[in-house]
Amino acid sequence: MTEAVGRTGRAFAAAARDARAAWRLPATLAAILVLAALLLPLVVTDPLQLQDLSGGLYLALAATGLAFALGLGGMPSLCQGAFMAVGAFTAALLRARTGAGPIESALGGLALTTLAGIGLGAGFVRLGRVQFAVATWLFAWMVALGLAAFPSISGGANGIAIPDSGFGVTWHYELALVLVCLACLAFFAVARGAPGLALSALRQRPAAALALGVRATRLRLGAFVVSAALGGLSGSLSVQLQGIADPTGYGPFLSFKLLVAVVLGGMSTALGAVTGLAALSGLTELSHWIGSLERLSAARFDPMLFAILVLVVLGLGGAGIVPWLRRLFPWMGGRAGRALAATSPTRRRGATLTAEGIRRRFGGLVALDGLELEARPGAIVALIGPNGSGKTTALRILSGTLTPDAGRLELDATPLDGTGIADRVRLGVVRTLQRTAVFEELTALENVLAGAHRRYGSAARTVLATPKARAEDRAQRAAALATLEQVGLEEAAQAPAGTLSASEQRRLMLASALATNPRVLLLDEISAGGTAEDVRKLGAILAGLREDGLSIVLVEHNLRLVRDVASTIIVLDQGRPIATGTAGEVAALPQVQAAYLGRHRL
C-alpha cells in the first residue's frame, strides 16, 4: 500500500518535473488567456452578449472536432453540421417529449452522434478522399432534407421549443469554454503523440505508412468518430442554450461554415479551429456593419465572404492563420527540444520465412511462377534478375500487399494465410518500398517513430499522458535515436526528412522499418541512387544486421553489394527462378548470363 502511494507520488513528481521542463512562454500566455476567459462573465453582464459568446464557443467545439477529421485524418468531411443536427434534435426531442434532464439529453445526443459516426465511418474511412467528400456531402443533404420532410422530428417551420433548463447563460458559457479547452488539449496531445505521427505519415505517403504497419482504417475511424462526437456534443448543448431547435439552421451551409473556419485557422494545429472561427465571426460582423452603413442586409452575402476567404487562404497556399502566426513569431512554437540519449541498440531476433511454389499472374501476364525461398535468421537472401522479372512482386507477396494465386507462406512454420500488411508487420515481417518514400515534413527521428507506433498504448492513454504512456514515449524516443545511430543518421535526428540526401533517405527508410522491431526484413533496392561510398556503408549496416541474427530478403540491382553480403542468391527471369546458390555458383551458370546479357546473340 505505502509502496503504491510512493509510486504514485513519484509518478506525479516526475509529471510535474516534465511539465515544468516543457513549460514555455506560450503556455503561460495560454493559461492567462483561459483564466481571463473564465472570468469574463464578471465583466460582460449582458446576457445576450454572453449567449452569443457561448454559441460561438459551442461552434468552436464542433470546429475543433472537424479538425480531427480534416487536419489529423486528412479526410475532407462536409457533414460536421449534420452531426450537430443529429445531436441537437436528439437532445431537443429528449427534452421536449420525454422530459429528460438537460445533462441526460446532451449525453443522449452525444451517444447517438457517436453511434452515427461509427456507422458512417465504418463505411466511409476506407474511401479515397474524393469519394469521402461526396459521401459526407450527401449525408449532410440527407439530414437537411430529412429534417425538412419530417416535421414530426424537426418540429416543422416552428422548430422544437425546449423547456428552460434553469442553468442560465453563464453556466453554458463556462461549460462551453472548458469543453473547447479540453478538445484543443486533446487535439494537441494526439497530434504530437503516436497516433498523430502515424496519421501524419499516412497523409504524406499512404503506401509507405501502410508498409510500416500503420493501421490506417482504425486510426482514421478514430479521428472521424471523435469529430462526430464533438459535433454531436456541441449540437446537443448549444440547442439548449438557444432554447429552440430550428431545422433550417443545420443545413449543409453550417457544415461548410465550419470547414471554412478550420481551413482559415489552420487545420493541422490545435488552436486552428478556434482561431479560424473567431476570425470568421469577426469578419462576418465587420461585413454586416459595413452593410448596415449602406442599409444592405449583408448577412445574405456571408457565403460570398466565406468563398473569398477560402480562395485567399488556399490560393496563397497558406496553411491558415495559426501556422502563419507561428512563422511570423517563431518563439510561439515553443517546441520542447528535450535532450535525448540513445539507449543501447535493441536486441534483434530473426525468424524463418519460407515461401513455396508462389505463383501470381496479372491478367495474362505471369509475374511470378514457382518461387521457392527460405530466409533464415542470420542470413541474407538476395533476389536478382532483369527489370520485370518479378522481384518486387515477390516482396509484395511476402509483405502481404499482394495475395498469391497459389503457394504457401510460413513464418516459423506458422502459415501466413489471410494476414494483411499490418498483421505481418506485427508478426515481424516488414518491407521498405522501392521508391524513396520518407515522410518529408517529419524529422528523421519522427520518421523512425512512425515505424515504432505499434508499441505505443492506446490513443486514450496518449491524451491523458499517463505516467506509463510518458515513460513509454521516452523509451521509444531513445530507442529511435539508437536506430538512427545504427544507420549512421544520428546527427540528422532533428532535420526534416525532406532535407536529407537521396541515399540518406534510403537509410532513413531502413531505420523506420527497423523501428517496427522486425524479424524478417524485406528490402527493395535499398542502395538505389547511392554513390560507391554510400553502398559500402549500406553493406556494412546490412552485414551488422545479419550478425545480429535478422532474416533479410534483399532485392538489388547492385551486384557488388549482393556479392558482398548475400548468403544465397536467387535469380529470377520472367517470373521464374532460374538459379539458386552462392554468388560464385550463380555467376557461372550460362542461363544466368543469358538472362542478364540478353538471349539474342549477334
Binding site: L70, G74, P76, L78, L120, A122, G123, F124, V125, R126, L127, G128, R129, V130, Q131, A133, V134, A135, W137, L138, F139, W141, M142, L145, G146, A149, F150, P206, A207, L210, A216, F253, F256, L259, V260, V263, M267, R300, F301, D302, P303, M304, F306, A307, V310, L311, L314, G315, G317, T401, G420, I421, L433, Q434, R435, A437
Partner: protein
C-alpha cells in the same frame, strides 16, 4: 394501372433530367477526378439568367414570352453557365489539382456553390418563380395535360424525356465520333500521355467543364416550366444527379443516364407508393435514395484494394 403509368412517365421525365446531370458529373469526374460540387448552382444560374433575359424580373405567366426572345434568352443563359463552368475550372480547380490538394478543390467548389446561391438568392428574392414556356404544350389536351389509359400526364413530360435522351445521345456521339471527343477520352485514360502526344489538355478540359454544365442546363431549362422553381431547385437537382452518378460509381455516361432515369422512377414510386400495403409517401422521396446511395458508397469502400504505391 393508370397510376402506374402516371408514375412511370412523370418519374422518367424527372429522371431524364437527373440522368443528364449525372452524365455531367461523370464526364467531369472521368476527365479530372474532380466532383463538381457547384454543378447544381451552375444549372440554377443558367435557368435564372435565361428567365431574366426572356421575361425580366417581374412576375411571369407561362404564356408571356415570344419565341425569338426566348431563343436569345436561352443563348445568353447557356453562355453564362458555360462561361462560369470554364472559369470555375481555370481559376478555382486547376490550381489545386496541380498541387494535388483534394481538400483545396473540394472546399473551393463548395464555396463557389454557396456563393452562386447567395448571388441568385439576393437577385431573385421571391419565394418561387414561374418559368415561361416557349412551346405551346398548353394547347394540347386540357391545358397541357392528356389522359392516357386513365392517367393524367403533362405533355411536357414526354418532351423533357425525349430531349434528355437526345442530349445523352449527343454527349455520347461527341465523345465517340468527333476529334474533340476522342481527345477527351484520351485525357480521361491518361492525361499525361495525352499531353505528350499534343492534345491541348488544359484547354479541352476547361471547355468540357463548361460544356457539360451547359448540357445539364438545357435539360433543366426544358423541365423548368413544369413546376414553380427557386434557387434550391438547382441545388437539389445537383444533389440528385450526384446520387445517380455515385450509385454507378461514375462509370460511363450511359450508365449514369440510366441511373438518373431509375432514380426518377424510384422517387415517383416512393412518393405515391402503397406497395402491397407498405406505405411510404412524399416525405421519403428525397431521403431514401440518398440513404441507398450512401450504403452503396460504403460497400464500395469495403471492396477497395489497399492503396497502391
Amino acid at each position: 394501372m393508370s397510376l402506374a403509368l402516371q408514375i412511370v412517365v412523370t418519374g422518367l421525365a424527372a429522371g431524364g433530367v437527373y440522368g443528364v446531370v449525372a452524365i455531367a458529373y461523370t464526364l467531369i469526374f472521368r476527365l479530372t477526378g474532380v466532383v463538381h460540387f457547384a454543378l447544381g448552382e451552375l444549372i440554377a444560374l443558367a435557368v435564372f439568367v435565361t428567365l431574366v433575359v426572356a421575361a425580366g424580373t417581374g412576375p411571369v405567366t407561362q404564356t408571356s414570352v415570344g419565341g425569338g426572345r426566348f431563343a436569345l434568352a436561352l443563348v445568353v443563359g447557356l453562355g453564362a453557365c458555360v462561361l462560369a463552368g470554364t472559369a470555375t475550372y481555370a481559376l478555382a480547380i486547376k490550381p489545386y489539382l496541380d498541387r494535388g490538394s483534394t481538400i483545396g478543390w473540394v472546399a473551393v467548389t463548395v464555396a463557389i456553390a454557396f456563393a452562386i446561391r447567395a448571388i441568385l438568392g439576393a437577385a431573385f428574392d421571391r419565394p418561387s418563380y414561374v418559368f415561361p414556356d416557349p412551346f405551346p404544350f398548353r394547347d394540347v389536351g386540357r391545358g397541357g395535360v392528356v389522359t392516357l389509359a386513365g392517367a393524367s400526364i403533362q405533355v411536357r413530360a414526354f418532351f423533357v424525356l425525349a430531349l434528355a435522351v437526345v442530349l445523352a445521345i449527343v454527349a455520347t456521339w461527341v465523345l465517340e465520333r468527333t476529334k474533340t471527343g476522342r481527345g477527351l477520352q484520351a485525357i480521361a485514360s491518361d492525361a499525361e500521355g495525352a499531353h505528350v502526344v499534343g492534345i491541348p489538355v488544359d484547354r479541352l478540359v476547361a471547355a468540357a467543364f463548361g460544356a457539360v454544365g451547359g448540357l445539364a442546363a438545357i435539360a433543366a431549362i426544358a423541365a423548368a416550366p413544369s413546376a414553380p422553381f427557386d434557387v434550391d431547385t438547382g441545388t437539389l437537382l445537383g444533389v440528385k444527379g450526384l446520387v445517380a452518378a455515385v450509385i454507378v460509381r461514375f462509370a460511363t455516361p450511359w450508365r449514369a443516364f440510366a441511373a438518373g432515369l431509375a432514380l426518377g422512377l424510384v422517387e415517383a414510386a416512393i412518393a405515391s407508393a402503397d406497395i402491397s400495403g407498405f406505405r411510404l409517401g412524399p416525405e421519403y422521396r428525397d431521403v431514401l435514395p440518398i440513404a441507398v446511395a450512401l450504403i452503396v458508397v460504403a460497400l464500395q469502400g469495403r471492396r477497395r484494394e489497399p492503396e497502391l504505391e
